[in-house]
Amino acid sequence: MPVILQVSNLVKRFGPLTAVDDVSFEIHESSCFGLLGPNGAGKTTTIEMMEGIKLPDTGEILYQGAELGQQFRNEAGIMFQTTALQEFITVREIMVQFSRFYPHTTSIDELADRYELHEFLNQDTRKLSGGQKQRLLLAMALINKPRILFLDEPTTGLDPQSRRNLWKQVQEVKERGATILLTTHYMEEAYELCDEIAIMDHGRIIAHDAPDALLAAHFDDVVVQIHAADIPSEVGEREFDAIYRNGNAHIVTGDVNKTVERLLHLNIPLDRLRIRARDLEDLFLELTGKELRA
């Protein structure tokens, strides 16, 4: 697939802090590219430079081979991490306003059908729930039939059901052929939606590939997960080099049978044992030594 957006040697400094440090990558047309990293990793600064909101100190961003210009503005759909809407106007009015900004648009009724906006279409924007606002912001980002869609942590703060709904809607956008650039710190979200991911830390990209390819390249083992209450930490750490997080002991092993035998030998109850493949969260921990949701 052709490259739609190319980022080369991007650098952005804020005083003594280098927020983005020599970042380069390409995004292919009709793919979903995920930019992952903990808070402060530099992913929002990177995406905002790609959106044309911030100017890089050095480096280059090319959209379809040209610098970001009017064509990019007309063809990009953008959903920020947080957006305030003008007050005292209704959802329909703000959508009418945005539709007048662009030469080619999707009808408001079609967007309202697709993102279930009808129930609050004539409601003041100040009176929307979190889920309703995210749906509206997504609809606003799609009003210009974008060829490339930027989603900066679109599901942060949403309840699990709203999050799943939004994933479904993003999948539909992808199926219609739009290119998507997504930042998130939810690994499940990245795995579900992205064809390609780049993991950022301290302003640099530390890994970049398809999610499964990254996992295959870094891991040939699995995780045996036991409830933390069933295996005292001194035993887990001494016998298995276990890592304790989220209320579980995580034992990384290349030989599950041998590990289970050893656990039985130590009289560790296995009622709540779970064996899982290594995931992106493990990968991030492996690469940076930090938990992703830090």
Binding site: I53, R73, A76, L85, Q86, F88, I89, R100
Partner: protein, 337 residues
């Protein structure tokens, strides 16, 4: 381009009209101020007598005796012809030239009558003779004088805070950031804000003017169209001031401070409430730097003296040129974030 400006224009109008408390406040405040100042303070002017004094050699004994009279405020004028209208309009009670012993007086002025008695008494035993020159004209009541200033002041508040505060709030909460991610340019956004604010302010002030005209009998000698042009250009100028203030600030507190820094000196040094006649020369010169001075003076000349647009062209020129400069600066330094 025009489609985008129109979209922003409509959205801002809806915001303004639906924000009932702000709308009510922008209409009620000037009316309240006019009633308070027109009726509460009209009869309590602390400066009872004002005499214009023309320059010349050291006044003779009789003239010196008169100039030493206490409780009369002597205001130095540079020449007679350009200041006679102040005697005509009762803005000064008498104009006196000690060099030639001539004085100008409006016989319908009660204060002028008393001051003339004092002047004649000072000359009584001097052997010198006074030359009396009569001028004619109607008295300007305080309410006639203050209304153009109050409307101009209302325009100033509406322009500075209406545009400055709104843009800063947009920036603070990320509304501008969202707009910057669309094809809307800074110039389109600023034009929409100016147009929206301009027509709303003109409409609100026309309503105030008509409303007051129904209840208060004030002087309107000039053309309504000329007055509309004065207030429209004044509004554009003050809106552009607000744009410059709001071009980069993202804190409402800082914006509030800077807007107050702009508005309060204008409020008191632009001659809205009291004439700067007799004020220190540097203050009079400083007042000429303030756009509100030119709006107020031009509106007064139209409403009180019946001046046409040509006669107030000096004020219009200052307002027009400074508007272009301010708009250019505002657009150049404007930042979405």
């Amino acid at each position: 381009m025009w489609n985008r400006i129109y979209a922003l224009f409509v959205a801002r109008n809806l915001e303004f009209v639906r924000d009932r408390s702000a709308l009510a406040w922008s209409v009620l405040l000037p009316i309240l101020i006019i009633f308070v100042f027109a009726y509460a303070f009209t009869e309590d002017n602390p400066e009872k007598f004002k005499v214009g004094l023309l320059p010349g050699s050291e006044p003779a004994t009789a003239a010196a005796t008169f100039v030493d009279t206490r409780y009369i405020r002597f205001i130095e004028f540079d020449e007679a012809p350009g200041n006679l209208h102040k005697v005509e309009r009762h803005q000064v009670d008498l104009l006196f030239d000690p060099a030639t012993n001539r004085y100008w007086i409006n016989q319908t002025s009660p204060n002028g009558y008393i001051v003339e008695k004092l002047l004649v008494a000072a000359y009584a035993d001097s052997g010198e003779s006074l030359q009396k020159i009569l001028v004619e004209g109607d008295e300007i009541r305080y309410i006639d004088w203050v209304i153009p200033g109050v409307i101009a002041m209302n325009i100033m508040w509406g322009a500075l805070f209406g545009i400055g505060y709104v843009i800063v709030r947009y920036r603070k909460f990320g509304v501008l950031k969202r707009l910057s991610a669309t094809p809307v340019t800074a110039v389109e956004f600023l034009c929409a804000q100016i147009l929206s604010r301009l027509w709303l302010m003109v409409a609100v002030n026309v309503v105030i003017f008509i409303g007051m005209d129904l209840f208060v009998d004030f002087r309107m000698h000039g053309s309504y169209l000329d007055l509309l042009l004065v207030f429209t250009l004044g509004s554009i100028n003050l809106i552009c001031c607000g744009l410059v203030v709001a071009a980069r600030i993202s804190s409402e507190e800082v914006a509030n401070g800077v807007l107050n820094l702009f508005s309060w000196p204008m409020m008191f040094l632009s001659g809205v409430w009291f004439s700067l006649e007799g004020a220190h020369p540097w203050m009079q010169k400083f007042a000429l730097l303030l756009p509100l001075t030119h709006v107020t003076d031009a509106a007064r000349e139209v409403m009180i003296d019946g001046a046409g647009i040509v006669e107030v062209s000096d004020h219009m020129l200052v307002l027009g040129i400074s508007s272009v400069i301010l708009l250019f600066i505002g657009a150049r330094i404007f930042q979405w974030e």
